[in-house]
Symmetry: C2
Subunit: 360 residues, 2 copies
């Protein structure tokens, strides 16, 4: 039998509903949301009552075993945390407040015990920090873990941040250091299955503070919800999107949607620093990692990429997390995306979004 | 490389957006929907503008290879059609008009050619007949086909049909013949891989009208959207849900949600008839299929199960598809679900939802 029996499925739904926040609990949370939840888990579908003053933003995201994560390497609470965080990133990039989510969860029965508990714990932690509530879903048994998350967000009517509004002259910003998640993944995967001693090391990392800091951007990415909201509410950004597939790929998508080109400056791109301790490790040195390459093509940054007219750039200093917001170039007319190197030489930026499993 | 490269992924999104209706085209469709689509595919997320007069109903549903279908047996257009129809059934069961859907599609690269074209064709046909539009999604490469569909529907505020409103004395109805999908699946799977001659026969069935009629409920289920809408708009039903896991399982869920019991009459349950031609086939006879068993426990009927107070039962004759609506029993106080057989003997109805892949 390949599907979870109905009794087991009903039990599973109850377990999920208990583990993850399902309805706004505080009065503050309820009054903040213009849309009320009338009915959550337990019927055929969830019911929401929008008040007509907001727009609704909807997105879904798949997170699959052997594609986006490895069940024998990634801690289950990271799988839970990251699957929800990734899906919410698209909502944050539209400047919306994430409100509700639906979870499709297909797992092998051997994972319904401790693995599922940890998974739900991680997802609950992400839900709590993102201020988002589970309202429905579907569970089934399957040979591989397969997760799909649909997120709904709210934004004041007409204020959603699109990819398509960038104008020549606008300044291009990113919200933080790029390439950290890619660096973490390269570290993790370089040790993968080659050396059982390394495997033990991976299990130990939560104890080592420096390793924890290194791996966090890959395992527990932080989503810039507050910044997105602020940019939308204050009509600051002409275009915005989240950086999930690498700056080179995503900037070209934003430019294509806006019908513009861009020029960016290599030296201004905030990139991950490789700790001396790490750099001195033989195996790590063999990878010959280039922080700029990771920042341009690494992917999974979940930072915001956005454009602001020069006349409004000054106001940015009131933005949440302003200290890590960095201008990296400007929007140009035409279609070309140009990068200037250290010596001021320009070249076309190749679209080289990095795939975490390319070398598997 | 295990993920679809970004260029290929962008192309795939374009292909999907072209194949499946993405925005209401006619004025009638737009004015019918209280919620307008402001932005569909092509940005981080879809944007919708609700007008505050409707409630929104949301549901998601997984449809997985080797769990819900077999890639070497089920025609790809059926996989596309059924994955959307199944997900929409939950919305119809709430009495809502289905409006928009999001598609998460993970497929092996060998399926991105003809298989995907046929899949999209089937999904487009379902979308057209259900009056529903694709507004977003996520695509990725994976070793197995994994589909997750999120559907959004609209219902006049406060009118959604819940499982929880059934009262003692209410009459229990089903909207059509039960067990037909289970019968079709038993026919298909009984031939599975045992005899290559049979395999050829399976490929030939679209030409044979009697076989097409037999297999349709399993491959291309019809969703009772109009009936659900009518029941909600006219405040006819005190409780409703769709029959996806078999009458025995689903009736017990409805009763549990309403805090009531029920008694149903065996002879009144509309069941599939096994054609004499089929019944005379040796291999088929071996299965010893019992139409009542299929109707009670077969599953995948996607008919509506609903309860109506006796005082309103007369008005049901104005319902769409009234001729196939059948009363099968009544709601009782207490918790027991009792079935009366031909001879008037009563017994407890076992929850025996049938799993299409149990015997795999």
């Amino acid at each position: 039998m390949n599907r979870i029996a109905f009794h087991a499925e009903d039990d599973l739904v109850t377990r999920i509903a208990r583990a993850i926040p399902c309805a706004p609990k505080t009065r503050r949370a309820i009054s903040r949301a213009a849309t009320r939840l009338r009915r959550g888990i337990g019927d055929d579908a969830a019911i929401l009552s929008p008040n007509g003053k907001s727009d609704w933003v909807l997105s879904c995201d798949a997170f699959l075993e052997n594609v986006h994560f490895l069940a024998n390497l990634h801690p289950p609470d990271s799988v839970g945390f990251k699957s929800l965080a990734r899906a919410t990133s698209d909502i944050a990039a539209m400047g919306a407040a994430p409100r509700f989510f639906l979870l499709t969860l297909a797992i092998p029965s051997r994972h319904t015990g401790a693995w599922l508990d940890q998974f739900l714990k991680g997802m609950a932690r992400a839900a709590h920090s993102l201020g988002i509530h589970l309202v429905g879903g579907d569970t089934t048994e399957s040979s591989h873990i397969s997760i799909s998350v649909t997120v709904l967000g709210e934004v004041p009517r007409g204020r959603a941040l699109l990819r398509s509004g960038a104008k020549p002259g606008d300044i291009i910003y990113v919200s933080g250091t790029l390439g950290r998640a890619a660096l973490a993944w390269r570290w993790m995967s370089s040790n993968l299955g080659r050396n059982s001693g390394r495997k033990r090391m991976l299990r130990r990392w939560p104890q080592k503070r420096s390793l924890r800091r290194l791996l966090k951007p890959h395992l527990y990415p932080e989503i810039k919800v507050d910044l997105g909201l602020w940019l939308a509410t204050n009509r600051m950004a002409t275009a915005a999107m989240d950086l999930s597939d690498g700056l080179s790929t995503d900037l070209s998508r934003l430019c294509a949607a806006s019908g513009v080109g861009a020029r960016i400056v290599e030296t201004s791109i905030p990139r991950a620093s490789i700790l001396p301790k790490l750099a001195s490790m033989k195996e790590f040195a063999k990878l010959r990692l280039d922080p700029l390459d990771l920042a341009l093509h690494g992917g999974e940054d979940y930072e915001l990429l956005f454009t602001v007219p020069p006349s409004r750039a000054k106001l940015l200093r009131k933005a949440p997390g302003f200290s890590s917001i960095v201008p990296i170039g400007e929007i140009m007319s035409g279609k070309d995306i140009i990068i200037f190197d250290l010596k001021g030489r320009s070249s076309a930026l190749p679209r080289g979004g990095w795939d975490p499993f390319r070398d598997k």
